[in-house]
């Protein structure tokens, strides 16, 4: 069983969101980078659990990005995994990213590919579905539970207005979210081990981007809160009814 886990680096959740170069680029000065929480908490940890159950599982991590991703990928390796692959290119187009991962995945003959449901910076929710289409394997999105049985998997996933349990024959691509696993803190042994785990840097395949971010915008500031005294809820109801017109 070979598993590939997609890892993305994102700004820490408390980062100030600001832009530079005429709003064309994210202002990364002073920003702490983390593993995208969906990739770490729910996706990587689930894959590690599968490997703990069956030590013959081969677990590879992959990221697409520049050398500044290495710290993040080492952090991920400190949690678990046998080796990591970094495709050495940067892009803000999900088609390019998915194509790079697909090229590596094809070569590696993985049975299972896990992605987080989205990144907390770009909020794309696109890589998993694109990968599945590129590899022509089933795609199970928004998984909350996952059980492996040989080359079959049972996946519980969020659908419109509820959940669905699906059976699938591997290979498959799964996007993961809350419920799959619980957050773990890397221990000293893991951190030491991660230093010597292989991190392969591979050149990108030639793919033309289909989208380009031209600028960023910040939402307009809120006008400020209107406070209503606690003993006068009738006024709040009136404001919501007549001014905001929401009830």
């Amino acid at each position: 069983m070979k598993i590939l886990v997609c890892i993305s680096k994102t700004p820490d959740t408390t980062s100030k969101i600001a832009f530079k170069n005429n709003n064309a680029q994210f202002e990364d000065a002073g920003v702490q980078w983390i593993i995208n929480p969906y990739d770490e908490w729910y996706t990587l940890v689930k894959a590690i659990e599968l490997k703990e159950k069956d030590p013959s599982v081969i677990l590879h991590l992959i990221t697409v990005g520049g050398a500044d991703c290495d710290a993040i990928i080492r952090k991920a390796l400190a949690l678990g995994g046998d080796e990591a692959i970094r495709v050495d290119t940067e892009s803000d187009d999900s088609y390019v990213i998915a194509s790079q991962i697909a090229a590596v995945a094809k070569e590696g003959n993985y049975d299972l590919i896990f992605t987080g449901k989205e990144t907390i910076d770009y909020n794309g929710s696109a890589i998993g579905g694109m990968l599945a289409a590129k590899l022509q394997v089933p795609y199970l999105s928004l998984a909350t539970q996952f059980e492996l049985n040989g080359s079959e998997a049972k996946v519980t996933r969020e659908i419109e207005g509820g959940e669905e349990v699906d059976a699938v024959t591997l290979p498959a691509v799964i996007s993961c979210q809350k419920g799959m696993a619980e957050q773990r803190i890397p221990n000293m042994r893991g951190i030491m081990a991660a230093r010597t785990k292989p991190l392969k840097v591979v050149p990108p395949v030639a793919i033309e981007a289909l989208t380009h971010i031209v600028a960023y915008e910040l939402p307009p500031a809120k006008a400020g809160v209107k406070l209503v005294p606690a003993d006068d809820v009738a006024t709040l109801v009136k404001l919501l009814h007549e001014e905001a017109k929401v009830i």
Partner: protein
């Protein structure tokens, strides 16, 4: 050239977000002087002609039992074939569970640029630029799609619908459908309650409510408002409430018309999931709670006193 809007259905009923996608797609078609066509997969008996009210001229329907469940690869292949058949150059989905599952596959099969989570009409004066939410609603990105075919998923509750009185024509399409790639073992639909992602009003509780036994008053308030209930992350982590109610950066992101936050401090990760709400009301006993800075209306006070009074006051207003 035309605009094709994928209309999602569940158990034969059209989804609310789909009407919004239809109206958005029709507005895109108008910008480009072309037709807005809709595609419905599955057995929907009523309401298809009414898509005309949202600006759709023609609805294509493919009725097959395989569409009762969303098999992402099957849907993506069928939709791709229809796009080619009707010569659509823009394909619109709602950014819902189904849209997220299917749109990326369609984009790959058509080698089309994809923008997910769009929140405004495209700007055509310099390329084809779509505005989307990024950083969990804390900012927007303007994305230029350069491929000949373009795929967009629209954030629910982000486009103002203008209805017209027109009927759409409905036409059955015959296409070959690929084999299923997944096998559905069970479905578990939350019935009765208002689903969180579709709710116009959401009443949400945090750790300030002290324990699960105190959620009665949250449910009462939600009930009078026909609202869905939500919660902060620690509340779901402590199993006071089910995980699907967890909103925020690592939970569900919502954009209702009204979000009422009760006993929630307003941590940045929580705000990331709710800051696109049109109106935010905060009830918190701490005047310094950060949530007040993101709120439109607020009450500084004890939730255990304020919430039952609020429910009663709303009931009174409704009875008038």
């Amino acid at each position: 050239m035309s605009v094709l809007i994928f209309i999602d259905q569940s158990e034969g009923h059209l989804k609310k977000a789909s009407f919004e996608a239809a109206a958005y797609g029709a507005a895109v078609a108008k910008q480009m002087n072309t037709n807005a066509l809709a595609l419905v997969l599955g057995n929907v008996a009523d309401g298809l002609t009414q898509l005309g009210n949202y600006g759709i001229s023609k609805v294509y329907q493919i009725q097959k039992d395989i569409f009762n469940h969303v098999d992402a690869q099957v849907f993506a292949t069928v939709i791709t074939n229809v796009v080619k058949q009707v010569d659509a150059s823009i394909v619109i989905f709602s950014h819902t569970q189904t849209g997220k599952a299917v749109a990326p596959g369609v984009a790959v099969q058509l080698k089309a640029g994809l923008v997910t989570g769009a929140c405004a009409l495209p700007q055509n004066d310099n390329g084809f630029v779509v505005k989307k939410t990024v950083f969990s609603g804390k900012a927007f990105a303007l994305v230029n799609i350069t491929s000949p075919i373009k795929v967009i998923t629209l954030n629910p509750n982000s486009f103002g619908i203008q209805m017209i009185t027109e009927n759409a024509t409905v036409e059955a399409l015959e296409v070959t459908v690929p084999n299923a790639t997944i096998q559905v073992v069970a479905t578990n639909k939350v019935s009765g309650e208002v689903p969180l992602s579709e709710a116009d009003i959401v009443v949400s509780g945090g750790r300030g409510l002290k324990g699960p036994e105190n959620w009665g008053m949250i449910e009462d308030l939600a009930h009078v408002l026909h609202a869905a209930t939500a919660c902060s992350r620690p509340v779901a982590d402590a199993h006071w409430r089910p995980h699907h109610e967890h909103v925020g950066q690592t939970g569900v992101q919502i954009a209702p018309n009204l979000y009422i936050a009760i006993g929630i401090s307003g941590a940045i990760q929580h705000l990331a999931g709710v800051n696109r709400s049109k109106t935010i009301v905060v009830i918190n006993k701490d005047p310094e709670a950060p949530f007040f800075k993101a709120a439109d209306y607020g009450i500084v006070g004890d939730a255990f006193e304020v919430v039952p009074k609020l429910t009663a006051a709303i009931k009174e207003m409704q009875s008038k």
